[in-house]
C-alpha cells in the first residue's frame, strides 16, 4: 500500500469518527434546544390563556385545535405543569404527528380549570433533517477537499524522496559516477540523501577496492603461476630425469594447470558479480549454439558421442557477447564432459527455450547443489562451470532448470521473452 493511500485512509477514518460523533452531538443538542424553545412557547401560551380566563373571556372561545380549557371540579391539589410527547391525528394529512403537550390544573378565582396546550413538533423534525443534510454535504465536501489537498501536497512534498528512490534504483555498483541527489529543503529528505550519499560513497570505495584487488590478485597470482609452469616445463626437458622424478614434475605441472584454470574461473565469476561486463548487443543464441557446436563437434566425435540438433525458432537476447559465448560453451562443454563414450547429446531450441540434453548416470547425491561453486562429481572437475552459467543466467533474467529423466540430464534455458 502506498504511503499516500495509507495516510488518506487514516484521515478518512479519523474524519468519519469525529464527524460521526459531532453529528450525534449536534443532533441531540439541537433537539434539546428546540424542545426547550417549544416548552417556553407553551408556557407563554398558557399564561396568555390564564390571563384571558382572568379577564372573563368565555371558555369556549379559548378552546381551539391546539388549546383545550375545561372547568373541572375542585381538587385538593393543583398539579404542576407536565410536558408530554404525544401523537395527534391530523385529518388533512391523515397521519399522526408528534406534538409536545403542556397540561396543568389551575385555580382562577373560585373555579378550577384544566388547561392543555399542544404544539406540533413537525417543524423541529424538518429542521433537524435540514441540519443533517447540510452537515452531510459539508462533511463530504471536506473529505474531498482533504483528499485532493493531500494528493497535491504529498505529490509535491514527496518528490525529493521519489527522486532519491529512482536514482537508487538505477544505480549500478559498477558505474563510474558517484551517486548525486537533487537538493531539497525538506530537512528529513536532505538528511536521508546525505546519509545515503555517504553510505554509497563507502560502498563505491569498497567496490573499487575490491575490483582493484581482483585484478591485482589475478596479476600477482598468475605471474608466479607462469614461473612455476615454465620452470616445470624446463625441468621436464632435462635429459637425466628418470620416470619417478618426471612424474613428480608432472604432478606439479598438472596442479599448476588446474590452479590457473581455477583462478580464471573465479575471476570470471567475480567479474560477472561485479557487473564488469557492461556492453550489450543483440545475440542470436541459436546461431551461437551452432557456431560453438562446430568447434566442439570434434571433441564429441573423439568420445563417439552421437549428436542430434533440432533448432526451430530463433532466439534473440540482449546481452554481453562475451558472456553469451561463455554461457553456451560452458553448457556444451558440460554436456560433452559428462557424457560417457558412445553416449548421446541433444540440443534443441524453440520459442524462448533452449535445451541441452546428454546421456549419463543419475546424480545420486541428494545434497548436490548443481549450480553452486565447487560442487563437483569428480575430483578432476573444478566445479565452476555451472555456477558461472547460473551467474550469467541470473544477470540476464534467464531461468535455468535441471532435471533428470530416462537416463538423460536436461538443462533448460527459459528466456524472458517480453
Amino acid at each position: 500500500m502506498k504511503l499516500l493511500a495509507k495516510a488518506i485512509l487514516y484521515y478518512l477514518l479519523a474524519a468519519l469518527l469525529s464527524f460521526g460523533m459531532g453529528g450525534v452531538l449536534i443532533y441531540f443538542n439541537t433537539n434539546k434546544l428546540i424542545h426547550k424553545d417549544v416548552e417556553n412557547f407553551l408556557v407563554n401560551r398558557e399564561e396568555i390563556a390564564t390571563t384571558q380566563i382572568v379577564n372573563g373571556e368565555s371558555i369556549s372561545s379559548l378552546n381551539n385545535y391546539e388549546q383545550k380549557v375545561i372547568i373541572i371540579p375542585p381538587i385538593s391539589k393543583l398539579n404542576i405543569s407536565i410536558f408530554t410527547d404525544t401523537l395527534i391525528y391530523d385529518i388533512i394529512d391523515d397521519k399522526y404527528h408528534p406534538y409536545l403537550q403542556l397540561s396543568l390544573n389551575r385555580k382562577i378565582g373560585k373555579q378550577y380549570y384544566h388547561i392543555e396546550i399542544s404544539k406540533s413538533l413537525i417543524e423541529t423534525k424538518l429542521l433537524v433533517r435540514e441540519i443533517f443534510i447540510t452537515m452531510l454535504f459539508v462533511f463530504i465536501g471536506l473529505i474531498v477537499l482533504m483528499i485532493v489537498l493531500n494528493l497535491l501536497i504529498s505529490r509535491n512534498m514527496w518528490r525529493p524522496f521519489k527522486d532519491t528512490l529512482k536514482k537508487l534504483k538505477n544505480y549500478k555498483s559498477g558505474q563510474s559516477e558517484p551517486i548525486k541527489f537533487k537538493k531539497t529543503n525538506t530537512y528529513e529528505f536532505s538528511q536521508l540523501n546525505e546519509i545515503i550519499e555517504i553510505m554509497m560513497g563507502k560502498i563505491r570505495n569498497d567496490y573499487l577496492n575490491l575490483k582493484e584487488f581482483t585484478e591485482n590478485a589475478s596479476h600477482e597470482i598468475l605471474t608466479p603461476l607462469a614461473v612455476i609452469k615454465s620452470k616445470t616445463d624446463m625441468l621436464m626437458q632435462l635429459d637425466n630425469l628418470n620416470e619417478h622424478e618426471l612424474n613428480f614434475v608432472k604432478a606439479i605441472y598438472d596442479s599448476t594447470v588446474k590452479l590457473s584454470r581455477l583462478n580464471q574461473g573465479l575471476l570470471l565469476l567475480a567479474k560477472i558479480e561485479n557487473q564488469q561486463y557492461g556492453s550489450e548487443e543483440k545475440i542470436d543464441l541459436n546461431q551461437l549454439m551452432l557456431n560453438n557446436f562446430k568447434e566442439y563437434k570434434e571433441m564429441a566425435d573423439l568420445k563417439e558421442i552421437s549428436i542430434r540438433i533440432d533448432l526451430k525458432d530463433t532466439n534473440f537476447i540482449q546481452m554481453n557477447a562475451n558472456l553469451s559465448q561463455v554461457l553456451i560453451t560452458n553448457l556444451l562443454r558440460n554436456a560433452i564432459k559428462h557424457t560417457k563414450k558412445g553416449g548421446k547429446i541433444e540440443l534443441s531450441a524453440s520459442q524462448g527455450i533452449l535445451k541441452f540434453l546428454n546421456s549419463g548416470d543419475e546424480i545420486t547425491n541428494k545434497n548436490f547443489k548443481m549450480f553452486e561453486r565447487f560442487q563437483k562429481q569428480n575430483s578432476e572437475s573444478l566445479g565452476l562451470g555451472l555456477s558461472i552459467v547460473k551467474k550469467i543466467c541470473d544477470r540476464y533474467f534467464i531461468k535455468i532448470n535441471y532435471q533428470y529423466s530416462k537416463g538423460l540430464h536436461e538443462f533448460t534455458l527459459l528466456l524472458d521473452t517480453d
Binding site: 607462469a226 614461473v227 615454465s230 626437458q237 608432472k250 566442439y296 571433441m299 573423439l302
Partner: protein, 225 residues
C-alpha cells in the same frame, strides 16, 4: 632472429631467455617501458614479447610506440591480466598475438615461429628438417619429396613437433595447441595417442624415420638424435 622481451618478472625472463636462446634467437630484455622504448628506438627487433603490466606503465603504450616507429616488428602480448578489454585493445592496436599467463614455452615458441613466417612474406615459408619438408603457406608436408596426406590436426601436430623438436610436450600442451584449452573435457588424454600413431604411420609409410617418442606416459617428444 632478434627478440626483445619486455617483462619485469625476473624468473620468467630467465626462463624465456634460456628457452629462446636455446632455439637460436638473439634475446634482449627490457624490464620497464622506458628501457623498452629506448631499445626499440635504437635497435631493430623482429619480434617483441610484451608484458602489459609493467612497473612504470602499461605495455599498451609500448605497443603504440612500436606501431608508430617500427611497424614491421611482430608483437606478442603476454599478460597476467585475463582482461577482455586489454585483449581487444591490444589486438586493435596491432598486436599479432595474445597469450595469457601462465603459458607454455613450447606454445610461445609455436606462435613466435608463426608470426615470423607471416611477417617474412618474401622469405622462406618452408621448414625443412632432414627428410621432412613443411610448406606453411600451402599447409603441405612432404617426406623425401613425397606428399603426405594429413588431416588438419595431423598437420598442426607435426608442425608443433618440428618447431619444438627435442622438447618434451605434455599431452595437455598438445591438446591446448590443437584444440584450445579443452583438456579438462576428457576423462583421459590418451586419444592423443591415436593421432600420434596415425601421424607416425603416415610418415613411416613414406620412408620417414620414427622421431616421435613417448615420454613415460606424460607426453611426447620429437627426437632428432
Amino acid at each position: 632472429m632478434k627478440i626483445l622481451i619486455v617483462e619485469d618478472e625476473k624468473e620468467l625472463v630467465d626462463d624465456l631467455n634460456e628457452f629462446l636462446d636455446d632455439q637460436g634467437y638473439i634475446i634482449e630484455v627490457a624490464p620497464t617501458t622506458s628501457v623498452a622504448r629506448e631499445k626499440i628506438f635504437v635497435y631493430q627487433y623482429d619480434i617483441l614479447i610484451l608484458d602489459l603490466g609493467l612497473p612504470d606503465g602499461s605495455g599498451l603504450d609500448v605497443l603504440k610506440y612500436v606501431k608508430k616507429h617500427k611497424p614491421q616488428t611482430g608483437i606478442i602480448i603476454l599478460t597476467a591480466r585475463d582482461s577482455l578489454d586489454d585483449k581487444i585493445s591490444g589486438l586493435d592496436l596491432g598486436a599479432d598475438d595474445y597469450m595469457t599467463k601462465p603459458f607454455l614455452l613450447s606454445e610461445l615458441n609455436a606462435r613466435i615461429k608463426s608470426i615470423h613466417r607471416r611477417r617474412n612474406f618474401d622469405g622462406n615459408s618452408t621448414i625443412i628438417f632432414n627428410e621432412i619438408e613443411i610448406d606453411t603457406d600451402k599447409m603441405r608436408v612432404s617426406i623425401n619429396d613425397q606428399n603426405l596426406t594429413l588431416t588438419r590436426k595431423e598437420y598442426e601436430l607435426i608442425l608443433y613437433f618440428v618447431i619444438n623438436k627435442n622438447k618434451v610436450l605434455t599431452k595437455e600442451s598438445i591438446i591446448e595447441h590443437l584444440w584450445g584449452d579443452h583438456s579438462d573435457m576428457f576423462d583421459s588424454l590418451d586419444f592423443i595417442y591415436t593421432h600420434i600413431k596415425n601421424l607416425r604411420k603416415k610418415m613411416q609409410d613414406m620412408g620417414g624415420a620414427d622421431y616421435l617418442k613417448s615420454v613415460y606416459g606424460i607426453g611426447y617428444k620429437f627426437e632428432t638424435d
